[in-house]
C-alpha cells in the first residue's frame, strides 16, 4: 500500500531560515549517484551517530548498489532487519528480470514492487520530504543511479504503553487512555467508532518539530463550517514547535483574554468518541496524551465520562454536586469575608458569636487573613504537585501542621478560616475538568478582593460581570453557555441533569444538522 501523506506546510511562505533546520524549505530533487545522496544526507543531518547507512548489493547476481539509511534510535530495528534487509538479501527472492544488467530504474521498480515485505512503502523524490521521513523513523532505500528513494515505514522507538487515565479517573468505564503516540491514539478512537464515516486529516505543525496533528471527525454528523474553521485555524499556525496540545489550544481559541477555557481537553478515548458522535471535532497531537475537543460548551466541564456509565439518577446528582462545588470554590472565601466584615446581621446570633470569638485576637482583617490562608494553600498545593513523590509526605505533614494547627495556635488566623479554605479546596478538587478548576482558583481571588471592598454588593457586581463575560464567549461559533444562551430546553436533558439515554433522542444542534440520535419511544416497557 502506497500512501501519500498530506502536507500542508509547503515551503511557500517561508522566510528563509533554512539554516535553522526548517524542513518546510524546498531543497530540490534527489541526486542520482548513491554516494552523492549519502554524502548530502550526512552533511544535512546534524551530528548524528545514530544515522546508519548500510550498503549492499542485490543478491541476484547483479552489481546493483543499494543503501538503506535510517536513524537507529527511532526505528524499529527488528523491522528493519526482518522486513527490509532480509527480504532484499534473501536467496529466495523472486526472479529478477532475466537481463543481467538491469537498469537502475528496473532495479528500483523491482525492489519497490516485489522485494519489500513492509506494509507501507512510499516513493520519494525530493530532499525535504525525504529528510522528514528519515527523521520520522522510516528506512530509506537508495539505488545507485536513480534519483528516487523508497521509504519504508519502520517507525519504532519507545512509547509508553496504553495505561489508565491519570486525570479523569472513573470507577466504571473504560480504563484505557491516550499515550504519547498519535497512531496509537487514533487507533483507540477508531476501535470505538467502526464507521466508514469516521475520518481524520493529518497536518504537520511546527517548523522545527514537524509535529503530527490529526483532526478527527465523523463525516455526515459534523457541520462543514466547523470542520473548515478548525482546519483553517490549524493551518494558520506558524510556529517553530508544538510540544503539547496546549500550544495549539492557545493558537486556535476564540478569546485569548478570558480566564475560561473554551477548548475542552481529555485523555480518554471514550470521551473523544462520544464527542465526535455529537458532531464535535477532536484534535490529537503527537507527543501528548491530551486531545482537544471543539467546539466546547460550559456543561462539558462539569460532565464526567462516568455520568453516562452509571445510572442516570446518580449521574444527575453528581453533576448537580459538581456545579455546587464550582460555586463554592469560586465564592467560598469571598462569602466568608463579606459575611464577617460587612453583613454580620445575616448570621445567626450564636454563629456570629462563635465566629467573633474565633476571630478574637486575630491581628488581620478578614480579607488579609483569607489571602494569607488561600495563598499558603496554593503554595502547598503547587509544592505537592511538583514535589518528587518521595518527599510528598513531608509536604503534607508540614502543610497540615503549619496551615492547620500552628497558624491557629499562633493567633495569625482563625480556625473558621482554616475550615473555609479546606472546604474551598475540596470543592475545587471535585471539579472534573482541571482547566476549569484552575479558572475558579484564579477568579476566587478577584471575588475575595471585591468582597473585601464592598461586601456582597461586590460579589454580586463581580458575578454580573462574570456572567456577562461568559455570555460573550464563543467556541468555534457556538455560544459557551449553550444550551442556556441561546435557550434550548430540549438540550437540558444532558445539562444540569442527565436523563436516561433512551430519552435523549436528539443531538445538540449547535454542532450538527444531523440531530437524530436514535428512534423515539425506546423507554423500557414495564
Amino acid at each position: 500500500m502506497i500512501k501519500r501523506s498530506t502536507r500542508s506546510k509547503s515551503g511557500g511562505k517561508d522566510n528563509g531560515n533554512s539554516g535553522s533546520g526548517n524542513l518546510s524549505v524546498p531543497r530540490g530533487h534527489l541526486e542520482t549517484g548513491l554516494n552523492d545522496n549519502i554524502d548530502r544526507i550526512r552533511s544535512e543531518v546534524a551530528a548524528s551517530p545514530d544515522l546508519i547507512v548500510r550498503r549492499f548489493t542485490l543478491r541476484t547476481g547483479q552489481k546493483q548498489h543499494v543503501a538503506a539509511i535510517y536513524l537507529e534510535t527511532i526505528t524499529d530495528k527488528e523491522m528493519v532487519n526482518e522486513f527490509v534487509m532480509r527480504s532484499l538479501m534473501s536467496p529466495f527472492l523472486p526472479e529478477m528480470p532475466p537481463e543481467n544488467d538491469a537498469s537502475p530504474e528496473e532495479a528500483f521498480k523491482y525492489i519497490c514492487d516485489n522485494a519489500l515485505t513492509v506494509g507501507q512503502v512510499e516513493v520519494l523524490d525530493n530532499w525535504t520530504t525525504m529528510l522528514l521521513e528519515l527523521l520520522t523513523g522510516k528506512t530509506l532505500l537508495f539505488v545507485d543511479g536513480w534519483d528516487q528513494c523508497i521509504s519504508c515505514s519502520t517507525i519504532g522507538g519507545e512509547t509508553r504503553a496504553v495505561s489508565e487515565a491519570s486525570t479523569q479517573v472513573v470507577i466504571r468505564g473504560p480504563k484505557d487512555s491516550f499515550n504519547e503516540s498519535l497512531p496509537t491514539n487514533i487507533a483507540l478512537v477508531r476501535r470505538r467508532i467502526r464507521s466508514e464515516k469516521f475520518g481524520f486529516e493529518a497536518i504537520k505543525i511546527g517548523k522545527v518539530t514537524q509535529t503530527n496533528v490529526a483532526m478527527l471527525y465523523i463525516e455526515g454528523i459534523v457541520k462543514d463550517e466547523i470542520k473548515q474553521e478548525v482546519r483553517k485555524r490549524l493551518e494558520k499556525i506558524d510556529t517553530d514547535a508544538i510540544l503539547e496540545s496546549g500550544y495549539i489550544e492557545e493558537f486556535i481559541e476564540d478569546n485569548w483574554s478570558s480566564p475560561f477555557p473554551t477548548i475542552y481537553n481529555t485523555e480518554r478515548p471514550d470521551v473523544i468518541a462520544a464527542n465526535l458522535i455529537e458532531g464535535r471535532v477532536a484534535i490529537l497531537v503527537d507527543g501528548t496524551p491530551f486531545a482537544l475537543i471543539v467546539p466546547t460548551i460550559l456543561p462539558q466541564f462539569f460532565a464526567s465520562a462516568e455520568d453516562y456509565y452509571q445510572r442516570y439518577d446518580i449521574g444527575t446528582f453528581l453533576r448537580l454536586l459538581r456545579y455546587a462545588a464550582f460555586i463554592v470554590s469560586l465564592f467560598g472565601p469571598a462569602v466568608y469575608i463579606a459575611l464577617t466584615s460587612f453583613h454580620q446581621e445575616m448570621l445567626p446570633t450564636t454563629l456570629l458569636i462563635n465566629l467573633s470569638g474565633a476571630r478574637e485576637g486575630v491581628p488581620f482583617p478578614a480579607l488579609i487573613e483569607a489571602f494569607l490562608m488561600e495563598l499558603s494553600f496554593e503554595i502547598l498545593r503547587e509544592a505537592g504537585v511538583r514535589m518528587p513523590r518521595a518527599v510528598g509526605q513531608a509536604v503534607s505533614i508540614v502543610g497540615a501542621l503549619v496551615l492547620g494547627e500552628a497558624a491557629v495556635q499562633a493567633g495569625i488566623v482563625s480556625p473558621i478560616m482554616v475550615i473555609v479554605v479546606a472546604i474551598t479546596a475540596i470543592a475545587n478538587f471535585s471539579i472534573p475538568a482541571y482547566n476549569l478548576a484552575i479558572t475558579a482558583r484564579l477568579l476566587r481571588f478577584l471575588f475575595m478582593i471585591a468582597a473585601g471592598m464592598i461586601g456582597f454588593y461586590g460579589i454580586i457586581l463581580g458575578l454580573i460581570m462574570l456572567v456577562a463575560h461568559m455570555n460573550a464567549l464563543r467556541s468555534f461559533g457556538v455560544s459557551f453557555l449553550s444550551p442556556l444562551v441561546p435557550f434550548k430546553f430540549n438540550q437540558f436533558k444532558d445539562f444540569f441533569v442527565r436523563l436516561p439515554h433512551w430519552s435523549n433522542t436528539e443531538r445538540p444542534d449547535d454542532m450538527t444538522d444531523n440531530t437524530t440520535r436514535m428512534a423515539q419511544g425506546q423507554k423500557p416497557q414495564t
Partner: protein, 405 residues
C-alpha cells in the same frame, strides 16, 4: 488610527469611572468582627427626670467561644448603662464606655421597664423602625417588679447568652405551657398603629435574691438563689400599661387570640378537684365579630383536642360517658378562663384580643361606623363562647392504677 485612539480613550474613561465607583463606596460599611460589640439584649426605662435609662447587654465572644484558649473565667457578657434624652443619643453616648462599636443587629430581646410602660411606649418604637441597624423581630418583654437593667444583667444557667435563654424559655413555654404570648417589635408596632387592637406582651420577673443575680459565682451552685420567669400578659391601652393577666386568665387570653398550642389543664375526677391532668394538644379558635343594634357581638368558637396525661383517681377511662363528662368540664373551665380574660380586658377598656381588627376584616362597613368609639363598643360587647373539646387518647395505659377490678 484616530478611531482606535478614541476607543482607547473611551475605554480608559470607563475603566477609571468604574474604578472610582469602587473607591467611593470604599469600606464605609466594613467592620471587622473583632471590632464589634455585639448587643444581644437591651433594656429601656424612664428615670425620674424624664430621661431614658438604657442598658445594653454586650457579649464577650472570647468568654463564650470554646475555640479560644484561655477563655472562661470572666462573665459571658457585660452590661453598659447610660442615661439620655433620646434613644439614639444614648446608643452613641454608650461608645464612651464601650471600647468597640456597638452592633445592634443581633438584639434578641428588648426589655421595657414598668415605669416606661406605664408612661407610654409609643415614642420608643420610632427609633426601632427608623434605624437600619436594629431588627424588628426582637422579642419584647415587660419587666415586672424589677428594674429592667437588672433583668438584662442577670446571669442564667444553661445558656451562656442570657438573651438566647430568654428567647428559649419564652418560645418553649409558649409552645408547651401557652401562658404568655411571644411578641416581637414588629407585632407591637402593628398593634399600636391599628385602632382595632391594643398591644400586649409577656412579663419577665426575677424571683429570688436580686443581689446575687449578677455574680458569676451564683452559677457555680446547683441551686442559684434566683431565677428568671416569664409570667403574665401585660395589657396596654393607647400605649400605656394598664394591667396584667395572670395564670388562668393568661391561658384564656391565649385561647382567645388563637395562640394556644399546648397546655395542661387540671380537671376534677370523681369529686376530687384537680385530680386529672389533661394536655391540650391542638386548639383552633375562630372569632366572628359583628355589630348588631349598635352593639358589638363577638362569637368565639374553639375546637380543641386533648390527651389525658395523668389520673389520680379510679376513673374508668373506657367509659364514654365519663369522657364526655370530662370534655364538658374541660369546656367549662376553658370558657371560664376566656371569659375571665375578656372581662378583665373590658374593665380596662383595652381590646388586646384584636376583635376590632376582626370586625374590620369581616365587616369593613360596620367598622367604619364604630371605629371612633371602638373602646366603648368593646367594653360592652356581647361575648358568646363555644368550646368543642375532644379527648383523643388516654396515654400508654388504659385503666387507672387505682381502679380496682
Amino acid at each position: 488610527m484616530n478611531a482606535s485612539i478614541r476607543f482607547l480613550k473611551l475605554t480608559l474613561a470607563a475603566a477609571v469611572l468604574i474604578a472610582s465607583a469602587l473607591l467611593v463606596t470604599g469600606c464605609w460599611n466594613s467592620r471587622e468582627l473583632n471590632m464589634l460589640a455585639i448587643v444581644t439584649a437591651m433594656s429601656i426605662d424612664k428615670t425620674d427626670n424624664d430621661e431614658y435609662s438604657l442598658a445594653f447587654q454586650v457579649v464577650m465572644p472570647g468568654e463564650l467561644s470554646n475555640s479560644v484558649k484561655g477563655g472562661g473565667g470572666g462573665a459571658p457578657y457585660s452590661v453598659y448603662t447610660v442615661k439620655s434624652k433620646t434613644l439614639f443619643e444614648g446608643i452613641r453616648k454608650a461608645s464612651k464606655q464601650v471600647p468597640r462599636q456597638l452592633f445592634f443587629s443581633h438584639i434578641q430581646v428588648v426589655i421595657l421597664g414598668e415605669r416606661l410602660a406605664k408612661n407610654g411606649i409609643e415614642e420608643i418604637f420610632d427609633f426601632f423602625e427608623r434605624s437600619h441597624e436594629v431588627r424588628l423581630t426582637s422579642m419584647l418583654l415587660v419587666a415586672r417588679g424589677t428594674k429592667p437593667d437588672l433583668l438584662v444583667s442577670t446571669l442564667v444557667p444553661l445558656a451562656p447568652i442570657q438573651a438566647e435563654a430568654l428567647m428559649g424559655s419564652s418560645e418553649f413555654s409558649s409552645r408547651i405551657w401557652s401562658n404568655s404570648p411571644n411578641i416581637g417589635i414588629d407585632d407591637a408596632i402593628r398593634k399600636l398603629i391599628n385602632p382595632g387592637v391594643e398591644p400586649s406582651m409577656s412579663g419577665l420577673r426575677l424571683v429570688g435574691n436580686e443581689e446575687e443575680a449578677t455574680k458569676k459565682s451564683s452559677l457555680e451552685t446547683t441551686r442559684p438563689p434566683y431565677h428568671l420567669e416569664i409570667t403574665g400578659v401585660a395589657l396596654f391601652r393607647e400605649g400605656k400599661l394598664v394591667g396584667w393577666l395572670d395564670n388562668d386568665k393568661a391561658r384564656g387570653y391565649m385561647f382567645v387570640v388563637n395562640k394556644m398550642s399546648s397546655t395542661i389543664m387540671n380537671l376534677s375526677c370523681q369529686d376530687k378537684p384537680d385530680a386529672l391532668a389533661l394536655e391540650v394538644i391542638k386548639s383552633k379558635t375562630k372569632t366572628d365579630v359583628s355589630v348588631q343594634n349598635d352593639r358589638a357581638k363577638v362569637k368565639i368558637t374553639v375546637m380543641a383536642e386533648g390527651n389525658i396525661s395523668e389520673v389520680k383517681c379510679a376513673v374508668p377511662l373506657d367509659d364514654l360517658a365519663e369522657l364526655n363528662r370530662m370534655e364538658k368540664e374541660w369546656g367549662d373551665t376553658a370558657i371560664a378562663d376566656m371569659t375571665g380574660a375578656i372581662k378583665r380586658a373590658q374593665s380596662l377598656h383595652t381590646d388586646v384580643f384584636g376583635f376590632g381588627e376582626v370586625l374590620q376584616r369581616q365587616h369593613p362597613k360596620q367598622w367604619k361606623k364604630v371605629e371612633s368609639q371602638w373602646g366603648d363598643k368593646f367594653t360592652d360587647a356581647e361575648i358568646s363562647i363555644a368550646f368543642q373539646g375532644q379527648i383523643l387518647r388516654t396515654g400508654m395505659r388504659g385503666k387507672s392504677l387505682m381502679e380496682k377490678p
